[in-house]
Every structure is written in structure tokens, then in C-alpha cells.
Symmetry: C2
Subunit: 159 residues, 2 copies
DNA sequence: GTCGCTTCTGCGACAATTCGCAGGTGCGAG
DNA sequence: CTCGCACCTGCGAATTGTCGCAGAAGCGAC
């Protein structure tokens, strides 16, 4: 994928990021601009994958910087950080909010629409005045099939 | 606390755990019994703290075992695993469900009652048949004060 | 009580993430 | 344009968490 990265093709432009950083009293650096462009909506990337992707353009960049910048972006609300349970955290630019249901038994993943989360956000807001940033939630549990199986086992039907 | 650990004093007794393990086709071992007793309701412990606590009673126990057993307990629904954002996961026996609101700006933590979460659990159940195990959720965001401050800054009131 | 199968555990290696520090650099002040 | 401070970055080391394997141990069968 070495095609022309061509122009301003992206949801978040360099200038938007620069403005965002300035507004937060942060500095605009090459590392941050490159890292922002390495992230594309709809892709879940591990910190290591981000590292691999930006390294060619940032000779000598180290993992610490990747982690720190990702953390910064997250605090700025630009990317979401999610633990899907595989020992590696996933990062993704926030485009549209979406969530996951992860089955603890079979590992299957289902998509969960943000509509289901919105009421929770509002309830928290009303009760505590707390502004919840739930952009990419992973809910663990049992899927329909595994839940039924577990129920059968619990009932003593051990086969 | 080297006092008499005296008898059956605890929410989960050894026998309950033994039965639970057997029911799930798991084996009852000394490590598991000791680890269960090391966890006390209301305390958030890191894996390392659990390790330190059980080591005196289990000479030669290693970290892998602690992690594996904690994972097992979690899958059995005995303990909850939560990332409070400090780079270390916290474990706690599930006594009553409770949750946390963690402010990204000032680090303050508020308690969140399970009543607020229950509707979400039901919505997920109805929509997807998925049984969500939300026992100890950490919701990140901005507390009342920091949210107001952020609003002021965003409005250009940069002081 | 003994045997044997299967599951657990300890161990060591490895991968993922965080931390402290010294030097480099953005950016506002003058 | 230059100066200087504070923030960023790269580096290396320390932590935290995961994995595969060989031996130990639990538990049901006999």
C-alpha cells in the first residue's frame, strides 16, 4: 500500500489536529501529525501495528512515544482505546461510536449499537453530572448459544 | 493480620468454592483455596498484591499461577477484573456489584450504583440475547467540575 | 489402595506497557 | 531574529501480563 497518500484525504486534517493541540496547550510535532494519519476509521490497531506503520516516516521513533501519543489522543477524544481481551489493547480513531459484545466462552464478537448505550450516558449525566466518554465499549458475557449451554450444564444435564 | 483466620469466617467458604469448581469440571487445589481467601470484599488488589499475599502460604507459587487462577475465578463469576487506568488491573471478589466513574482530568473517582447499569444489561439481553456480565465497570469521562472547566476553555475563555 | 488419564502448576522465555532521565525542539517573549 | 523555558522525544530499564512445556497432583475407575 505505497500508493499516493494524496493530499487532504482523511477525516481529521493536520490543521484540525494542530488547532486541537494548541487549544489544549500541547505542542504540534511531526510525530503527532504522522501518527494521526496512520490511524484510519474502521480499523482496530494495536500499539505495535501503529508503531510499524509510522516508523518508516519517523526514523528512530520509539515505542514509548507511540504509547504516549496514543494516550494523548485518547485524552483529547480523538481515538478510543479498548481491551478486547487478547492481552493487547486496540486503538481506533473515533468516527462513529460503536461497541462490542464479546463472548467469554466461544470468543465470538457481536456489534452493539450506540443507541443501546446512550441511555446509560444520560442516566450518569443526570444522576452525577458526570460526562461519560463511552466511545468504544467492550462488554463481556455469554452469547445466546453459550448462555443456553451453560444453563443446561447448571441444570445437571451434564452432556 | 496474623490472627486466627478462624473457621468459616467469610462470604465464600472453602466448601462453596470446592463445589463451584467441581460443578465446572475444575479441580480443587491448595493454590485455589488459598487465593480465594486472600481476596476480601471491598478491596481492590492488583495481581502483584495478590501474589505477595498468597506467597507465604504457598511456597514456590509463581506469577503465572496467580494470573491463571484469577482468570479462572473471573470466568466463574467469583471475582471482577477492572482496569482503573493506572496501567495495572484490579481484582476484587464480587460481593455486590458496584461501578466507578473515573475523571480523566483530575483522577477523581465516584461510585456508580448498579441500578444505573441494570437497564443496559436488560437492553442487551432483549436486543441480542447476550447475557452481559457487567460486574465492575469503570466509566471514564469528566466530573462535574472538570467538565465545566473544559467548557469554559472551549469557549475561548482561556484563563 | 493403586492405576491412569487429564488437569494444574512451576519455570523460563517472551511480549506488552510504563517510567525516569537527559538532550532536542516548539513557540512565545523581547 | 534570537533567547529561554517548558514540553517532547528517544533510550534503556523495570513492570506487568502471556505462553509453552515437562513434571506433579487430583480424582474417578477398579
Amino acid at each position: 500500500m505505497s500508493g499516493p497518500t494524496a493530499g487532504t484525504g482523511g477525516a481529521a486534517s493536520r490543521e484540525e489536529l494542530a488547532a486541537r493541540l494548541r487549544g489544549a496547550g500541547q505542542r504540534v510535532t511531526a510525530q503527532r501529525l504522522v501518527m494521526l494519519e496512520a490511524l484510519r476509521p474502521g480499523e482496530h490497531l494495536s500499539a505495535d501495528e501503529v508503531f510499524a506503520r509510522v516508523e518508516p516516516q519517523l526514523p528512530g521513533v520509539c515505542r514509548s512515544t507511540v504509547y504516549r501519543t496514543l494516550e494523548l489522543f485518547r485524552d483529547l477524544g480523538l481515538v478510543s482505546e479498548t481491551d478486547l481481551g487478547g492481552g493487547v489493547r486496540q486503538f481506533e480513531p473515533i468516527d462513529g461510536r460503536h461497541h462490542h459484545l464479546v463472548c467469554r466462552a466461544c470468543g465470538d464478537q457481536l456489534a452493539l449499537d450506540d443507541i443501546v448505550i446512550e441511555p446509560l450516558r444520560q442516566a450518569i449525566r443526570q444522576r452525577h453530572g458526570f460526562v461519560a466518554e463511552i466511545d468504544h465499549l467492550a462488554v463481556f458475557g455469554l452469547c445466546v448459544y453459550c448462555a443456553e449451554e451453560a444453563r443446561a450444564v447448571a441444570a445437571g444435564d451434564d452432556r
